[in-house]
């Protein structure tokens, strides 16, 4: 029997007041910026646990993640580095 699970690729996370989240509407734009000199990172999450941290780059039009930390090999349940690398701009698009 082969067990499978769903893996989410989480690009960023941040705490926002509930009312700000509720007010997000189409055409609002959020920006994610890695710290200067760093790659954009993505967390791979399965069953609520961070299983790996990967850097992201565009190669030949494809989004490629390169694993930089593997949390499964260190035991499950370890908290990964947080990706607090985004800022929010309200309705910057053509709306």
């Amino acid at each position: 029997m082969m067990f499978t699970t769903v893996v989410d690729a989480v690009l960023a996370r941040a705490k926002m007041p509930l009312e700000v989240v509720a007010a997000l509407s189409p055409n609002d734009r959020l920006e994610v910026e890695p710290p200067a000199g760093s790659h954009l990172l993505v967390q791979l999450i399965a069953e609520g646990q961070i299983i790996a941290l990967a850097s992201v780059e565009v190669v030949d039009g494809l989004l490629i993640a390169t694993i930089v930390e593997n949390h499964l090999s260190n035991g499950p349940g370890l908290a990964g580095r947080r990706i607090d690398q985004w800022k929010r701009n309200k309705a910057m698009t053509t709306a």
Binding site: P17, R29, T66
Partner: protein
């Protein structure tokens, strides 16, 4: 007509005044109940893929009782996890009845509902691992909700086989008892969260907003509106085998979803669809 002698012969039960029983304001209680009602919904939504028969975990209510009054499910498949709230004297435990644990594991393995008499059987090693993982995952979501509500961080998590031997509470210690249940299956699919009685007072300590007597409902909604919530930007998701994930090594490369069907999520619930464009200098997320 009663005589004095007849009245004197009737034994009136004497109820001991419980000094240790916490005093809870109505607003605190309502807020605490609202938090756990939301947790029940979060659990149901996060487990929707394997909750058999489209059933839901529902919050039944909050009451207070001594630790010694808690009915412990002694079936071998019952799951008990102990925890504490970091930097506070508050301890707690979460207990899934054996029938609920069997129900959830059966759903995860797509094996259908266990017959009535199987709730008393012991899990296999794989089933036990799935049961523990499911319990931990539920506790993780509880911890997220408590953190958001300002109740503190759930810490010191450990499994427990026998609650009586946990030395967590004195027998007469007053606990806040939060009961959850999946109804309509004819089985005892119940879950209990027990916390030191002072947890509800802790809620007030972390809530600077004054709840007025005049419009309680509006005041609670106002508090909830301003609660911080953790939002995740999710590029996409895919299904992978456990074996494949276990083989992942540093340096491995994965082709990610292109970000066209991305979303924002809070507590694993999708709240807004989005489109993500990755550039060398960062990424842009457009809410759809």
């Amino acid at each position: 007509m009663s005589t004095t002698a007849a009245i004197a012969s009737v034994e009136t039960p004497i109820r001991k005044y419980e000094l240790g029983r916490p005093i809870i304001r109505r607003e605190q209680r309502l807020t605490f109940e609202a938090i756990h009602r939301a947790i029940a919904q979060t659990w149901s939504e996060s487990m929707a893929d394997f909750l058999q028969g489209n059933v839901k975990l529902q919050f039944e209510g909050l009451d207070f009782g001594a630790f010694s009054s808690v009915a412990v499910d002694e079936s071998p498949s019952a799951q008990i996890v102990l925890f504490s709230i970091a930097s506070t004297p508050i301890n707690g435990f979460m207990m899934l009845s054996g029938a609920l644990a069997q129900f959830l594991v059966g759903g995860r393995l797509a094996m259908g509902s266990a017959p009535e008499d199987q709730s008393a059987t012991r899990f296999t090693r794989i089933e036990g691992a799935i049961a523990r993982e499911t319990t931990r995952s539920m506790l993780g979501r509880l911890g997220e909700a408590y953190a958001v509500a300002g109740l503190g961080a759930v810490a010191n998590i450990r499994e427990c086989d026998d609650l009586a031997d946990s030395f967590l509470f004195e027998p007469d210690e007053s606990l806040a008892l939060l009961r959850f249940r999946i109804s309509g299956t004819g089985k005892d699919l119940s879950l209990l969260i027990a916390l030191s009685g002072s947890i509800v007072a802790a809620l007030a300590e972390h809530q600077p907003t004054v709840v007025t007597d005049g419009d309680t409902r509006a005041a609670i909604i106002d508090v909830v509106r301003r609660l911080p919530i953790e939002v995740e930007v999710v590029l996409g998701s895919w299904r992978a085998s456990i074996a494949e994930l276990m083989r992942l090594q540093v340096g491995d490369r994965i082709v990610l979803p292109d970000g066209e069907d991305a979303w924002l999520a809070a507590r694993s619930i999708r709240i807004r669809p989005a489109s993500i464009e990755i550039r060398a200098s960062g990424a842009t997320i457009d809410i759809l």
